[in-house]
Symmetry: C2
Subunit: 333 residues, 2 copies
């Protein structure tokens, strides 16, 4: 099912586009099937793996460098939420036959720039052909002091529920991309349209908060499948529930403008995917410290409610009434 080739095209492709990115000594210049990493003494290793598929998680005509950055950043976002410092990543790249050298060059450039910016070097991987869509599976590694990984399952009643940045922009950006007429209907300025589009296109993982989360959060995860659904998962893992004050969920100007024209979009904002913000729970006594610390690091953080005893999906409360936000997360299944 494979055909022979002289000095293998796979080796040439790796040498040309990806070996220049593999600057970490453990990558062995991508000349081995494996990589080697020496964990710092007293550290745990945090492992995460997210795959993205053209036509499912991104548009096939998105710029190649942006696709690469997204593939890496969705993994970096997981490490951030767990309080882990990035250590490196492996990538499996399944390429359709028609992939051009120009596309690969741009892809490798975006990947290399993000690897540098986030201090998360390429360590190795695998490159294969696929008769299907472009598929990128990245496994990222991070280090935390032993026992300090921030889990999902340790939220306690009375903890504050905190989210970073703004919620719902990516879901609105995706809606705009699928139906350009919405921009007119929502009377969005060019700047607002650009903001929402960019929030869908490319996550901005909050790795700068890793240590702060490690020191203060009782539980955390990144918001990738929608605030409502992801908070439900966090509560279920912790055996608790939560009450969220909808008025306190942080929104961008663009999202506020959309809501002013179409209040029914609240559901998309609260349950749409791809925010890649941090959702965490922090003991009440530390919540102000956490919020001030995040802001000092340039990341807005908002207290949106609290954890409650008992089980079940969280209540999203507006004007004293629980609203239906389609509680589940986005899912492919």
């Amino acid at each position: 099912m494979r055909k022979p080739a002289a000095t293998t095209g796979e080796e040439r492709l790796i040498a040309k586009f990806f070996a220049p990115l593999a600057k970490h000594p453990g990558a062995l210049e991508l000349r081995d099937d494996t990589a080697v990493l020496t964990p710092p003494a007293g550290c745990d290793l945090v492992l995460t793996k997210d795959a993205i598929v053209a036509g499912v998680h991104f548009f096939p005509n998105d710029p190649a460098d942006v696709i690469a950055r997204k593939a890496l950043r969705v993994n970096l976002s997981d490490l951030a939420a767990k309080g882990a410092a990035p250590a490196g990543f492996l990538m499996a790249l399944a390429l359709p036959g028609k992939t051009s050298e120009r596309w690969l060059k741009s892809f490798a450039q975006g990947l290399g720039e993000d690897a540098d910016v986030y201090a998360c070097p390429l360590l190795g991987g695998d490159t294969v052909r696929t008769p299907g869509p472009l598929t990128i599976s990245i496994t990222a590694f991070g280090f935390v002091p032993h026992g300090k990984m921030v889990q999902r399952q340790r939220a306690k009643a009375d903890d504050r529920v905190i989210v970073t940045g703004t919620i719902g922009d990516a879901a609105l950006g995706l809606a705009l991309r699928k139906d350009r007429k919405l921009a007119q209907r929502w009377k969005l300025s060019a700047k607002m349209q650009k903001h929402l589009a960019s929030r869908y296109l490319l996550p901005r993982p909050r790795n700068v908060l890793a240590t702060l989360l490690q020191e203060n959060a009782s539980a955390a995860m990144d918001v990738s499948d929608g605030l409502a659904g992801d908070l439900t998962k966090l509560c279920r893992a912790s055996g608790v529930s939560a009450e969220v004050n909808v008025a306190r969920v942080p929104l961008s100007d663009a999202a506020r403008a959309v809501l002013a024209k179409d209040p029914s979009m609240l559901r998309a904002i609260l349950s749409g995917g791809d925010d890649y913000e941090i959702l965490c729970t922090v003991p009440r006594a530390r919540s102000e410290t956490f919020i001030a610390g995040a802001q000092a690091l340039g990341v807005p953080a908002a207290d949106i409610g609290h954890i409650t005893a008992g089980q079940g999906a969280p209540d999203f409360v507006r004007d004293g009434r629980t609203i239906n936000v389609g509680k589940a997360a986005y899912s492919h299944f």
Copy 2:
């Protein structure tokens, strides 16, 4: 590009089929986006990632449990060659829409059995939909004492070149599968046909040899893209060349029967893929120790030649003459 669902089907799928496999405490019952691993003191972490795609690396109608085992075993084979003890793996599974519960059950069963047999537990991963073919990307982790990973790039002139098991069976098994008439032309017994078919279908990684390799090999890799091509890669990484005595390359009875009828198949035997045997170089003084040690562990190992100074593709010598074996490895590109 995703649709909402109640309590997410992805969560149900993971809970039903994969959570029962995640017995390692660091897997966090697959209820987190990440896993956590505490490396033993003084150990390096060996990382490997191999992706397989339906229609490229296996036949879409192969049994589901066999596909799962193959996806894991090609990674285990890399760990074996590096002298590493398996520590666990992450899996990204891109599933076509039509995947049945029955298929998933069988897939998870095969995966779980191999995870137990090879002591390589499922730690986490990602499950996504694809409009394309089934794609499985596994990242496996192993531990070696610090600095002891067996690399490709340390073969030295005069080292012996050793391979385990038999070479070429998988390539012949694939040829048979693509053209059933070959079995008649080659006059193969039912047993021989079965042997070749099974060697293509499912690798038998040599993890039992990890410590022996660590203690004796100067360089090693697994033979996944054909002996000729993989030895070329090892030589190139080490800045050496090699001379192989073709008569000493270990062949199964079935492969010998094929060669007797069709001597031109020698090239497919020496350069065909999917052997998943160990190719290593061992200093002359230790080669007998290594071979005896492997045999004591139930793995045949054969001395097939030696490393030479200089560079370039290895010479495959038969009856005093260098033969053309289509020196490059199989490649998708």
